[in-house]
């Protein structure tokens, strides 16, 4: 392969969020967070941003902590931080289980949680997880801030609700009480590769019956999707193997997997069934 070098750009490393937002008013400006997705695309010259706004020198964005009853994850929270639980209860454990599947250690040291949400790869573990949890994205621009719910965030292939000039400053995840259970399963050909299919399940079980359930699928189309029908199949039921099998079957039947060079659609549908079943079994194991 020929040597791959990024096209020329102007580089800025502001020390404050206000400074970064001011620079992002420039039409050609792009946020540089962990660089673990942006720099490869620049090396291929699929991206040629004229201005890079490096947010790595803004200490105020480096946090992942409980705020107002939620886990608030700032734009400089690295993937690796989540290897040790950043929240008590099931949420911290869920994120610690998921992060093991996000790329590799030397990528997790730089790559950021918010960068994954902004990049919105269809096979991003964090994207599917945020959708399953019903997280909220906080966007800021030089003119103001707004919040976007996970359901409205993912708009298409590598496309989110983020507008030009905006930065994703924080993702908020609802804390999960002790009666919440979770499961995560993905299938990828090699450890650390992007998955061909994944399922994230979060459920609240009370008195032996599933009261609330959300299942998100990733890796199968342009965006992560909620498997609403599959979740419905669980609610009000005692989580037996038969109920889990029905939910997994429903997830497979209702999703719309895409074919690409890595796998035909029907293979992905089989994987959705298997991953959903695994995630639910994990969640509901005594």
């Amino acid at each position: 392969m020929a040597a791959m070098k990024p096209a020329a750009f102007d580089y800025h490393a502001p020390a404050t969020l206000a400074g970064a937002l001011d620079l992002l008013r420039g039409e050609e400006a792009r946020v540089l967070a962990g660089g673990q997705s942006l720099v490869p695309t620049m090396a291929f010259r699929m991206a040629r941003p004229g201005i890079l706004v490096d947010i790595n020198r803004i200490p105020a964005l480096a946090y992942a902590e409980k705020r107002d009853g939620a886990l608030a994850i700032g734009a400089l929270a690295r993937h690796a931080w989540f290897e040790t639980p950043r929240a008590g209860g099931p949420l911290g454990r869920l994120l610690a289980a998921v992060v093991r599947h996000v790329a590799h250690a030397p990528i997790r040291t730089r790559g950021t949680f918010c960068g994954s949400l902004a990049h919105a790869d269809a096979a991003s573990e964090w994207c599917a997880t945020v959708l399953a949890l019903g997280g909220r994205m906080r966007c800021a621009s030089a003119t103001g801030t707004r919040e976007v719910a996970a359901e409205e965030w993912f708009q298409g292939v590598f496309t989110t609700a983020l507008q030009p000039g905006e930065m994703l400053t924080e993702v908020r995840l609802p804390l999960l009480g002790p009666d919440w259970r979770y499961g995560f399963a993905e299938f990828s050909r090699r450890a650390g590769d992007f998955a061909l299919a994944m399922a994230v399940a979060v459920l609240r079980v009370e008195g032996g019956v599933v009261r609330q359930a959300r299942i998100a699928l990733g890796g199968i189309g342009g965006t992560p999707v909620l498997a609403k029908e599959a979740a419905l199949a669980l609610i009000g039921a005692a989580p037996t193997d038969a109920v889990i099998a029905t939910a997994a079957e429903t997830a497979a039947a209702c999703c719309d997997p895409q074919e690409d060079i890595h796998a035909p659609a029907e293979y992905r549908r089989d994987l959705v069934r298997a991953m959903t079943r695994r995630a639910l079994r994990q969640a509901l194991a005594a």
């Binding site: 392969m1 040597a3 791959m4 070098k5 990024p6 096209a7 020329a8 750009f9 102007d10 580089y11 490393a13 660089g35 673990q36 720099v39 490869p40 620049m42 090396a43 291929f44 890079l52 490096d54 790595n56 690796a80 093991r100 590799h104 250690a105 030397p106 990528i107 040291t109 730089r110 090699r190 450890a191 650390g192």
Partner: protein, 169 residues
């Protein structure tokens, strides 16, 4: 097309380099510092040949820009052996266990393993395999690389026997 002056240390030696913003950390080390031990395989983050330590953590040096290294302490393969060329424990283990053939991937594996051996947690088989999956080697088949790192960890008393590890071996 901004140009920048960057100050940092490599293997403890202070450096000051003027470069274009688009210069990657890997190219800065190789071209501006003359440290060609850091290898470039894919230049887009998948192979790990370019792994170096930045402030103690492993990083793909093809995915960081040199200008971002301002104030950082960088460690590369050139810093592992003693100044007189005596190999360290890890390097010797790679030689003893045939952890390299063509050697192209070796600097990346050595820097990754250096980090693994310096962490607070002791290393076990599961953690070793999980971490090493990060880098590609087209020659060895990986088993000898695992053998080498395991042996170095044992010699340095950083190894933890684990049931899971025994089952896999």
């Amino acid at each position: 097309m901004s140009r920048h002056v960057v100050s940092f240390t490599v293997n403890g030696v202070p450096k000051r380099v003027e470069l274009e913003a688009r210069r990657t950390l890997a190219d800065m080390l190789r071209e501006d510092c003359g440290l060609t031990g850091t290898h470039l395989g894919c230049e887009h983050g998948v192979c790990g040949a370019c792994t170096v330590l930045v402030d103690g953590e492993p990083v793909r040096s093809c995915l960081m820009f040199g200008v971002q290294a301002e104030g950082c302490a960088i460690r590369t393969i050139e810093g592992l052996a003693a100044p007189d060329g005596t190999l360290n424990v890890l390097q010797r283990a790679f030689r003893t266990h045939h952890g390299l053939q063509c050697g192209f991937c070796t600097p990346g594996f050595l820097m990754l393993a250096t980090w693994l051996l310096e962490r607070d947690e002791r290393l076990d088989e599961a953690a070793l395999r999980h971490a090493v999956s990060s880098n590609l080697c087209r020659c060895t088949g990986y088993q000898t690389i695992l053998d080498a790192i395991r042996a170095a960890a044992q010699e340095l008393d950083r190894w933890e026997d684990s049931a899971a590890g025994e089952a896999r071996r």
